[in-house]
């Protein structure tokens, strides 16, 4: 066989491959998941994927979604962003351009969600981050909202003022210290917002110390904090750092109460904290199983029977995020990406397992309540719901 014949054969083969990949054969609605399955925060990715699979199975069992008079079922396309910003961008591009999803759920951690939101914005695809609380996820650098990007959680603007108010009114704290991871976006902005709010509520911030991702030794910073003698230590950090910080703080003789924010809310934090150093600590969260909403009970039972463990807040927020996508598809009554984004923009109220969502006009961040939990013998115990 001569060379020309071989090249022609190759050409035909690749054209066939392209043709095959261009035309989806089944009428399904593809939803992309951009999750942190490996890397720094794998527990987050696992919860996200579990909840997504659960809701998709529930919807498909009940017959799917009616779009333009046709019953269609949901299909998930799952991508692992490795908790890395660059990989999350690559996954976003793949999901939107190659897998042709109608909407993307995730990423969850802000350092991935912010760069990925740029991709969703420029490619005109609806993106809902279940868990990223960083302002820049849904906002452009000039403060206006990105057209295609929404979130299912509250932001630091809603969370930290309520948390600071709780610390002063209920914990009677007056001298706060802050130790946070300066190289991660979410802890960084949470620390700044909290500092501002705590001062505004009448408290004093006596020490602000930082570390960088990957550090395991915090003794130098904690020794400095101990010298400032705070009665509250606010630790906005990812869950795998918190037990180490708590252990080292108590060993150095710091008696201040620990306060955390939503990144603490995975059961892994207490598995890693075998010394029970976090006992009596408080943190704010998106979701509680002890909430009395009927939707929560059903969600909890179904999740437990599918995965043998209770859902955490990332699972609940992912469940609500996909709920919002389904609501938008139903309202748009089409699979056109622009129509779906338009329908999502018109949603004003939505009731999910994490509570009631209120979307103010032209605002892509929902107004929601925060839930305060305390850690008691390795369990999260519901304290109260703080409403905005």
């Amino acid at each position: 066989m001569n060379k020309q014949a071989i090249s022609i054969l190759y050409l035909i083969f690749f054209s066939l491959c392209l043709l095959a990949s261009c035309h989806p054969t089944k009428p399904v609605i593809k939803i992309g998941i951009n999750a942190e399955i490996t890397g720094e925060a794998p527990a987050i990715g696992a919860s996200c994927v579990n909840a997504a699979k659960l809701l998709v199975a529930e919807v498909n069992q009940s017959g799917g979604i009616n779009v333009a008079g046709k019953k269609m079922s949901l299909e998930l396309v799952i991508g692992d962003n490795g908790s890395k910003p660059d990989e999350s961008v690559a996954i976003s591009q793949r999901l939107i351009a190659q897998n042709e999803v109608v909407a993307m759920i995730g990423p969850n951690i802000s350092s991935c969600a912010v760069p990925s939101s740029e991709i969703a914005e420029s490619m005109g695809c609806l993106m809902i981050s279940p868990w990223s609380t960083n302002l820049r996820t849904t906002r452009n650098s000039n403060g206006s909202f990105k057209k295609n990007v929404f979130r299912a959680c509250f932001t630091e603007l809603v969370e930290t003022p309520l948390l600071a108010r709780f610390a002063i009114n209920h914990l009677h704290a007056s001298q706060a210290a802050i130790l946070y991871d300066i190289s991660s976006e979410s802890p960084n902005s949470a620390a700044h917002q909290f500092q501002k709010s705590f001062l505004k509520e009448g408290g004093k911030v006596v020490a602000t110390e930082t570390y960088t991702t990957g550090d395991r030794d915090f003794s130098a910073q904690l020794t400095k904090i101990k010298a400032a003698n705070p009665d509250l230590l606010f630790i906005p950090a990812y869950y795998n750092d918190v037990p180490l910080i708590a252990q080292q703080a108590r060993r150095l003789g710091i008696t201040a109460r620990f306060l955390g924010y939503n990144s603490w809310s995975t059961p892994d934090i207490v598995t890693l904290d075998t010394g029970h150093y976090l006992n009596g600590s408080y943190f704010s969260n998106h979701f509680s199983l002890e909430s009395d909403l009927p939707a929560v009970k059903k969600f909890n039972t179904n999740y437990q029977s599918a995965y043998g463990q209770p859902p955490d807040d990332i699972a609940a927020l992912t469940y609500d995020a996909i709920g919002l996508v389904i609501e938008s598809i139903k309202k748009a009554d089409s699979l056109n990406r622009t129509a779906i984004v338009q329908a999502m923009s018109n949603i004003e109220q939505f009731s999910g397992v994490t509570g009631d969502f209120i979307f103010l006009k032209d605002n892509h961040d929902p107004l929601k309540n925060i839930i305060i939990l305390t850690i008691n013998d390795g369990r999260f115990v519901y304290v109260e719901t703080v409403k905005p």
């Binding site: 110390e209 030794d217 003794s219 130098a220 910073q221 400095k224 795998n240 150095l252 075998t274």
Partner: protein, 291 residues
């Protein structure tokens, strides 16, 4: 006063861990003039080996420490046999790239097996000693004590045993040593085993002191220990020790005096300044040129 004393203790603990890892870099560099970037990952495997052994049978520290050291020492020698020996005469940059690759392979295999951060079981009673406002935990004493003992042991091996003599001879002239009938390959394997064993011990002690372990734990600390080895004079055993304690102290001092945000900036600027004045490191010697 007690504040300063507490920070000195913090610096000593950090420096001891850096020293144990830095020794591995220096040993290998001294013998082969190559930088084994997979060393940080051997350190990580040390922590995981201990976790694995404890998961099989709960054994006390004085048994699990030598077992971990033997396992990681063996892995270090295996790494040399499989990855570095075939390219020993290739350009040096190939060896560096190979070691970076091996490091990534080890990390990702561990990541595939254990994607979640793990908690290290407590092997020791957590007791602390308080005096004059200073807090020292038994663990800190243990970390520093075991590190110093291992370093003294290494110094003894290098200076007073025939293996140590062979290692020192190899670092002078590899070709000549083989001609004199010393089994160079076996000595190089043993050097890697020694370095690996120290790295494994460091991983174990580190995991005891900071009990959340993950597959990426060796990257940052591996780099820092490498910097320490270079500052002290890479190839020099005592230089590695000195460099490690200097790095640990600088890090703690910069946090003590300035906001912690500037820690890495200050620490590494200072180290750059040291290198400007002592380009071969503090105890390093420029290579002899024979004319």
């Amino acid at each position: 006063m007690d504040y300063i004393a507490q920070q000195v203790i913090n610096a000593f603990q950090l420096g001891s861990i850096y020293a144990l890892i830095a020794l591995g870099y220096s040993l290998v560099y001294g013998v082969l003039s190559m930088i084994n970037f997979a060393h940080g990952d051997l350190f990580m495997l040390g922590a995981f080996t201990c976790l694995l052994l404890e998961a099989i049978v709960p054994i006390p520290l004085w048994i699990v420490l030598p077992l971990t050291m033997i396992t990681i020492g063996f892995l270090g020698a295996l790494l040399e046999r499989l990855a570095y020996r075939p390219i020993r005469n290739a350009p040096r940059v190939s060896a560096i790239i190979t070691s970076l690759g091996c490091g990534l392979i080890i990390e990702n295999i561990t990541l595939a097996i254990s994607p979640y951060p793990r908690h290290m079981p407590t092997l020791l009673q957590n007791s602390t000693i308080h005096f004059y406002g200073i807090t020292i935990s038994f663990l800190q004493i243990l970390v520093v004590g075991v590190s110093l003992t291992l370093m003294l042991l290494l110094d003894f091996i290098i200076r007073f045993t025939s293996l140590g003599m062979a290692i020192r001879a190899l670092s002078c002239d590899r070709v000549m040593v083989s001609l004199l009938g010393i089994p160079a390959n076996r000595i190089i394997s043993l050097t890697f085993a020694l370095g690996g064993a120290l790295g494994g011990a460091a991983g174990l002690l580190y995991a005891l002191a900071y009990p959340v372990i993950s597959s990426s734990m060796g990257i940052l600390i591996g780099w820092k220990a490498f910097v320490a080895a270079v500052i002290g004079g890479i190839g020099s055993i005592r230089g590695a020790l000195l460099g490690a304690y200097i790095l640990g102290t600088t890090e703690v001092i910069s946090v003590t005096i300035l906001p912690s945000t500037y820690r890495d900036l200050i620490a590494y600027s200072l180290l750059l300044i040291i290198l400007v004045f002592k380009p071969y490191g503090i105890l390093g010697e420029p290579p002899l040129q024979k004319v």
